[in-house]
């Protein structure tokens, strides 16, 4: 009974259900969305007119508010990515190389325990810390260091803080996983040849870990740039990021064509980031 002969065998059709599902529920909606971005609202219906009005609107509407949203998103996301990588790398390094092997897994899980809180709740809990009634304000008030309650939330800084909080945990996990699979013998060889701790790090550990860090950074970028929750909860109303603009177009304005156009812009940004990242990785190979 050779496998693969039977008509209904998994070896032939196994991937079919998943592929069909992906085509129907992922590809098709994206295509539909692309088409809607080229459509107009007309009498309660969306009509495909192959118009670029939505994209023009992206640039010109509301005094370029949408462009601002895009620029804000990219600025915030880049800041978050850089800060998170810089903060997470030392943590992952210490976990991988300074903590005794036996305790590493436990320490890792313990340190990023808050990673498993609900994402919404986690962002909200920073309000408990940052707002006027929050822990920091009340503590400083209680210590007599300030006269009145201060609100540290509801601004870009709070958004960045909220993001960095999440991504430091995520990146610690991914960078740690990457560091531990670098063969021990590389570092031993470097030490054997006379390299001190810093030299070993600069010449061996860091270059070998860079591709893994790049993957983590890319992941951070993609997740952050498309996130609605953190900026919505912590950002205050003064500044909008792109996902918030998209949400407004869907819920408030019910302007699906515009929302679709904005989503396409977001996708372009992510795709560009992907190509930059892929090029960086290819350069790393050499």
């Amino acid at each position: 009974m050779a496998s693969g002969r039977h008509w209904l065998s998994i070896n032939r059709w196994g991937a079919a259900p998943a592929l069909l599902f992906t085509a129907a529920c992922f590809i098709a909606p994206l295509v539909a969305m692309a088409l809607v971005s080229l459509s107009e609202r007309s009498g309660g219906h969306t009509v495909l007119t192959w118009t670029l009005d939505n994209y023009r609107g992206f640039i010109s509407r509301s005094d370029g508010a949408f462009v601002d949203a895009l620029v804000n998103s990219i600025q915030v996301t880049l800041t978050v990515t850089v800060l998170s990588v810089l903060a997470a790398y030392p943590l992952a390094y210490i976990l991988a190389y300074r903590v005794p092997k036996r305790w590493q897994r436990v320490a890792l899980v313990a340190i990023v325990l808050p990673f498993w809180t609900s994402y919404v709740i986690r962002s909200y809990s920073w309000l408990l810390v940052l707002s006027e009634n929050g822990v920091i304000s009340q503590t400083l008030l209680g210590l007599g260091l300030i006269d009145g309650p201060i609100g540290l939330g509801n601004n870009r800084g709070a958004t960045v803080l909220g993001f960095v909080h999440f991504f430091v945990m995520l990146l610690t996990l991914t960078i740690y996983a990457n560091l531990v699979q670098i063969k021990d013998s590389y570092r031993k060889a470097a030490a054997d040849l006379g390299a001190n701790g810093l030299q070993t790090f600069i010449h061996v550990t860091l270059p070998l870990s860079l591709p893994g860090v790049a993957v983590g950074a890319f992941l951070t970028f993609v997740l952050a740039v498309g996130d609605y929750i953190t900026p919505q909860i912590l950002g205050g109303g003064n500044e909008l990021l792109l996902p918030q603009a998209i949400m407004l177009q869907i819920n408030r304005a019910a302007d699906f064509p515009m929302a679709s156009a904005l989503s396409m812009v977001l996708m372009v940004v992510v795709t560009l980031a992907y190509f930059l990242f892929a090029r960086f990785l290819r350069m790393e190979r050499v």
């Binding site: 031993k188 470097a190 040849l193 006379g194 010449h203 061996v204 070998l208």
Partner: protein
Amino acid sequence: MAESVVSLRGVSKSYEGATAVSQVDLDIAAGEFVVLLGPSGSGKTTVLSMIGGFTAPTTGQLFIDGADVTETPPAQRPTATVFQDYALFPHMSVRSNVGFGLAMRKVPRAERSRRADEVLRLVGLEGFGSRGIHQLSGGQRQRVALARAIAVEPKVLLLDEPLGALDLSLRRQMQDELVRIQKSVGTTFVHVTHDQEEAMSIADRIVVMNKGCIEDMGPPSRIYLRPATLFAATFMGESNILAGEAVEAAGECTWIKTALGTLPVPGRAAMGEAVKVLARPEHVHVDIGADVGAIAFGQGTVTEAMFQGTHLRLRLNAGPQGAVPITARAAADQSVTVGDSLPLSVRSQNLVLLRG
């Protein structure tokens, strides 16, 4: 101790109840090619690791070139190691790998390249400097690892089973290369292996280890022909071991009573002492008249005859009731069949007295 380049004094290493190395004393002279030989778990790799500074001894002291380096980290020891998996830096070229140790010593780039290329020529990889590590074959990587270690001109070069990953013909080739390079550079080599043939091919001196202790130490021929312990005897090659009792002294020899008769064995033993006698298969003769000086010890019935290329390997039942199994050799073209009865003899000077 003044002339030894490496000295171990009472060195031992234990981990949570298990002892890896137990009270080892060892002196290695400058320019020697020493091989640490033993089965896995014998402690040979741990000793190498302690010389290199990667493992700290639990007790004892370590000296390199007269200086106490027991507490010194690897980076500051005048040693260089060729690791079992080579550990070549995948993100650097061959030349950068070889020059790495020099870069750590702040040697300027031009000088580094020059010396790296020189060493690459020495190991037979001239012109390979710009290649990437992933472009190299196993044998080539091995040479780069060696070059990298030689480039820093260490007092002692440590090799951790470097030939294990190579196939047989390549391994033989590299063994010759290693000896050639060592003689050419003059550095002391300490090489770890579990392969006794490899050890015999390359070593000036073999240190046989078992269960954390040194069993025997000496030039390959002596270790093979006149091993000091039972373990060393059986580890170095096929052996016929006969249990016996010393019955009479006779000058340089002692008569030992065994199941195959009373044999004169070089060496001294107390009367009545229980000892073992070693006879290597190639020293057991199976035809009459082949060797006049040999002592006969009866007939043996052939139970197996295997062609091994250069010889026939014979298994025979010898002694009273054929109770003693003997391994012997015959010429490759000799016609021997199972069931044949052959006369067995051996020269007295080829017998070895063993204890334990």
